[in-house]
């Protein structure tokens, strides 16, 4: 095994410091007792966490984002699992085109998707409608689920399914009793990844949300462009904590490196 030299380790330390610096600063400033963005040198305080609850708009947009994430992640699983089965199991005309269509949101900038959805929704008279917002998020997060479902199906031992069929199980039973449990880590990993991506999405959502359906990232962006106080740090620290918790869960069920490093 080759070892890293001192120069390499110094470089590594600097990179890790660079990566963690803004996150650490946010988490520290969130606990400041002062009125300004400052480090909590003189004791810790939870006042800015409490301040969040004096801003009902933040609480509402948090609920919006939560509901949006839950719905769009669940719907994208409902689309990606059958689609993944079809793409993995069957060869049919247009299979590659369908696959490319499902993955296309990955290469279209979210900015472009945002203005495109805005135009469609405006023509439909659906601007600011929550269910259309969900639909737009489903489009953005489905590719992530599909990739994980395809990877899970790819690594599946087909002979187990064949054995069940030979032993008289119906195709439906084979799916519910054999296939689904075996690809469950891929599905649940995909669901969580979809939820996080929907929950964090800003660039597209800022075009298609209305004052009633504002999501948390959009609210935070608007707030940060106008005024900056330690409450932003408190909200951000909560989001970091949520993400960290989700990361631990993802790591347990699927291996985070596998999900993020991804295999097509």
């Amino acid at each position: 095994m080759l070892k890293n030299g001192p120069v390499a380790l110094l470089f590594h330390t600097l990179v890790v410091g660079f990566v963690l610096a803004p996150l650490v600063v946010i988490c520290l400033v969130a606990f400041t007792p002062e009125n300004t963005l400052s480090m909590p040198w003189r004791g810790l305080s939870l006042r800015w966490f409490r301040a969040i609850f004096d801003h009902p708009d933040f609480v509402i947009s948090f609920q919006n984002s939560l509901l949006l994430g839950l719905l769009s992640a669940t719907l994208s699983v409902a689309i990606a699992v059958p689609a993944g089965l079809a793409i993995d199991r069957y060869s049919f005309p247009g299979r590659d085109a369908i696959n490319a269509l499902f993955l296309s949101p990955l290469i279209i900038p979210h900015l472009v998707l945002g203005v495109a959805f805005l135009r469609l929704f405006a023509l439909l008279g659906a601007t600011g409608d929550f269910s259309w917002l969900v639909a737009s998020h489903v489009i953005v997060v489905t590719p992530y689920v599909l990739r994980l479902v395809l990877a899970a199906l790819n690594g599946l031992d087909r002979s187990v399914e064949a054995a069940a069929l030979t032993l008289g199980a119906s195709p439906f039973t084979v799916f519910t009793r054999i296939t689904a449990p075996l690809i469950l880590p891929g599905i649940s990993g995909g669901w969580l990844l979809a939820f996080i991506n929907s929950f964090d999405e800003l660039t597209m959502s800022i075009f298609v949300t209305s004052p009633q359906t504002v999501t948390l990232p959009v609210r935070m962006y608007m707030y940060a462009t106008e005024s900056i106080d330690p409450m932003m740090a408190a909200v951000s620290a909560l989001m970091i904590a949520m993400t960290a918790a989700a990361m631990v869960v993802l790591d347990r069920i699927f291996g985070l490196d596998k999900i993020l490093v991804g295999q097509r």
Binding site: M1, L2, N4, A8, F11, H12, V16, F18, V19, P22, L23, V25, I26, L37, A78, I79, P82, A83, L85, A86, Y90, F92, I98, L101, F102, P105, I107, I108, P109, L111, V112, L113, V115, A116, F117, R119, L120, A135, S136, I139, T142, F199, D200, T203, I206, P217, M220, Y221, A224, I228, M232, A233, S236, M239, T243, M247, L256, D257, L260, V261
Partner: protein, 283 residues
């Protein structure tokens, strides 16, 4: 066996309909929108014109923003390659548990909202931020960092680093560490082993990482929006302003589509170049 011809279509149909209706149709509608005229008092006109494309492609104001966008995205890509590739190599030489821990540290921030990370950098780079405090402590003059291109590049590098580290890491996983050890045993200097054994693998990962980083940086919104201020616009913040403040949707649609077209053209050209290179070097 007729069911086998129908089954796959039944399985993909709901998703395919949704994606056709919500990806292709809106893009076409946006294309049509960009061809409509615009009048500041009466709004979107029913006529068709190429005036917006002509205006955007000949006006120094827009060209300046496109040039800035390209410059910032290119610089971000370069810095990400210079930091991300060696870091991925260092990670690949670590032992567990450090390797998995630091892999998570490097790529985990990917899951933290961009708004949060942009806000973190605006605190670090602000006039009374930690970076300026540290510089003053070292006796350096305090500099204005926030609302400069430097601030945008620093934060973009932070956001894009995982997208460079991941492909380099993936391509390094395909390299058997024994090959590098063998090169050393056979008398190659560490530098030669690095250049002849590791670099070809790293380069392939770096090339695909660069494409992702460049594309995402060129259309980045939150970072220039929060760290560039009102004056330092990039393509995405320009589109947002046209839509939300100027209310000139056709012009905004034109700029957004130009961003998409530039993205796709660069992607295709780059892929072709990388494939040609791969054929040359790998035979």
């Amino acid at each position: 066996m007729t069911t086998n011809r129908v089954t796959p279509w039944l399985l993909v149909a709901p998703g395919a309909v949704l994606f056709l209706g919500l990806v292709l149709v809106p893009l076409v509608l946006t294309g049509v929108l960009s061809l409509h005229g615009y009048n500041h008092t009466t709004g979107i006109q029913p006529d068709f014109t190429l005036a917006h494309y002509r205006a955007v492609l000949s006006d120094d104001y827009y060209l300046g923003i496109f040039w800035r966008t390209f410059r910032i995205a290119a610089l971000t890509t370069l810095i990400c390659a210079l930091i991300g590739a060696p870091e991925a190599y260092i990670l690949s030489r670590m032992r567990d548990p450090w390797r998995s821990v630091f892999l998570l540290v490097i790529i985990g921030p990917l899951l933290v909202s961009v708004v949060v990370r942009a806000f973190g950098w605006s605190m670090l780079l602000g006039s009374s931020g930690l970076v300026n405090q540290a510089m003053q402590a070292l006796g350096l003059p305090s500099t204005r960092l926030l609302y400069t291109e430097t601030a945008i590049v620093i934060a973009l590098v932070h956001v894009m680093l995982p997208f460079m580290a991941i492909p380099v890491w993936t391509s390094l996983q395909k390299l058997d560490p024994a090959v590098e050890a063998a090169a050393l045993t056979l008398g190659a200097s560490p530098f030669t082993a690095l250049r002849r054994v590791v670099m070809p693998q790293v380069t392939m990962g770096m090339l695909s990482g660069s494409l992702i980083v460049f594309g995402l940086s060129a259309s980045a919104f939150a970072i220039p929006g929060l760290l560039g201020g009102r004056r330092l616009k990039m393509a995405a913040t320009l589109v947002y302003d046209e839509y939300m403040h100027e209310l000139n949707w056709p012009l905004g649609a034109t700029i957004a589509l130009l961003v998409l077209i530039a993205n796709l053209v660069i992607m295709l050209a780059y892929n072709r170049a990388v494939e040609a290179r791969a054929r040359r070097t790998l035979g």
